[in-house]
């Protein structure tokens, strides 16, 4: 009797997590699987590579190129400026309230994305924006006469940095904390200069953290839809924007093409995750 019970206990215990797994299947895995299979289906339900192959033709090719470019630029700049800002706030000598303030603000700004963020930048750098008018009237320099537009790819990059830099600050701050003071003191007592400490100790230790943060920022930008839509109304072709057109209008006549585009995004993001998980594991090695 007793042995019978212990043998049955394992499957019974798993029943406890069944509701959660059912829910995740219904609203996450099943829809995701539907996207993946749909990308390879023709109208009769047979298998085809046509839709996925179309991703390499225009205009989809350019959409992927734009999306990857915007993501690389904003992840790169976001990582650099986020790191510099976080270090400036955390390093010795900076009053403690600066760090608390920066962390709170980063929490807000990293979540302040989408339509309101786009509207804020239109009010700032749009054609009649406050900063645009200030530059035109006070400095005699209208950026719109010199090729600049906030409704362009450059504009999108400037706006994305508003949530990329704060995200970098949030994820990199623990890594900066992990740089132990003793290491610095040890390096300096061995005669290392500040530059030598960073070159041979600081940066090598932080590299996995910085790289994993970069990958996270890349994915964050790559999957963003609302901000770009609110800013440009879709005039800059990014992959999410193209998918949005497919879902909301009659721009594309082929229903499987939307799924193929989503599948293409999924592949890029899955590759990103394959990089992220081992980097994250490496990065946590030095954490306390």
């Amino acid at each position: 009797m007793e042995t019978g019970r212990t043998r049955r206990r394992l499957p019974l215990a798993y029943l406890g997590v069944l509701p959660f797994f059912l829910y995740a299947t219904a609203f996450l895995f099943w829809p995701a699987a539907k996207v993946m299979f749909g990308a390879f289906q023709d109208d009769a339900g047979g298998l085809t590579l046509d839709h996925v192959q179309k991703l390499f033709d225009e205009p989809y090719r350019t959409a992927f190129k734009n999306s990857i470019e915007v993501s690389l630029v904003t992840a790169g700049l976001g990582a650099v400026f986020g790191l510099l800002l976080a270090y400036a706030a955390i390093r010795e000598g900076t009053p403690r309230f600066v760090r608390a303030g920066l962390t709170t603000f980063s929490g807000v700004a990293a979540n302040f994305a989408g339509i309101p963020l786009a509207a804020a930048f239109i009010a700032t750098l749009g054609t009649i924006g406050v900063v645009t008018q200030f530059m035109t009237e006070q400095l005699g320099f209208n950026p719109y006469d010199h090729g600049f537009s906030v409704f362009s790819k450059t504009g999108i990059e400037i706006v994305y940095l508003y949530f990329q830099i704060p995200l970098m600050i949030l994820v990199i701050a623990p890594a900066i904390d992990g740089l132990r003071r003793e290491w610095r003191e040890a390096a300096s007592s061995l005669g290392a200069s500040s530059w030598q400490f960073w070159r041979h100790v600081g940066i090598p230790i932080m590299t996995p953290s910085i790289l994993s943060a970069f990958v996270l920022l890349f994915g964050n930008s790559f999957s963003a839809y609302a901000t770009a839509y609110g800013l440009t109304g879709g005039s800059v072709g990014l992959v999410p924007i193209t998918i949005g057109f497919y879902l909301s209008g009659n721009v594309l006549d082929d229903p499987h093409l939307g799924q193929a585009l989503a599948f293409g995004m999924l592949v890029v993001l899955a590759l990103m995750m394959l990089l992220y998980i081992p980097l994250q594991r490496r990065a946590s090695r030095w954490s306390r």
């Binding site: 406890g16 400036a88 900076t94 979540n111 989408g114 009010a123 964050n220």
Partner: protein
Amino acid sequence: MTPRRFIAPSAVLWLLLGAAYFLIPLIATLIFSLRSNQTGTCCTLENYGTIIHDPQFLKTIKTSFILSLETIFLTLVLLVPTVYWVHLKLPRLRSVIGFMALVPFVIPPIILVVGLLDVYKGTPTWFYAEPYGFLVAAYVILAFPYMYFSLDTGFRSIDVHTLTEASQSLGAHWTTTLVRVILPNIKSAALAGSFLTLAIVMGEFTIASLAVFDTFPIYIQYINQNKAYPAASVTLLAFAITWAAMVALLAAGRGRAPAAQGAR
């Protein structure tokens, strides 16, 4: 390298540059929101009046708020017992669920909505055509990673086994254990996850827009397209909501400030 007593000059420079980049758009939006809608000159509060007296504003903000509460409730009901059970009986599943919590980053809202619309196209209208059905179902998935990581941290900091055994040896039913013993101990983790969920749902645009529901972010976009100056005032209101949710989160989670990605 003697310990520094004063702030480094380069740190001052970077912090000032950062402050400029992050504060100028907010100040500019404030100035923009005070301009007259007719003449474009400063300063008037009429744009705030336009928004507050717009019945659509109150209606959509109410919809989004109810959606947030519903999402928070459903996510907690789904995850608290699951995470509790995993910590108590199935510790090996922790890494499985931790991995599952990363899946929404590979399937962001823009991909999820493609699949969801496809799967649930033919379902009854009480689910498919109602924000309180379809949208909440999707938002629980968006909230899941944040709520899970928050709860997991909370459960790791308490002794689940001892608490459960103590409660059961006093004759408590397992629901009593969960609600009256476990829940009070993970309250701050659940609150932190809830405020994050609130911020995500109040700002979620992608799924609501593409599934054609009328929520607060959809209203902001409508104003954004049609009325330049009132758009700035409603933007500041949205910023205030995010700010309030984050401050509440920090107060609840004490220093932990995770980043959400729902609004993008």
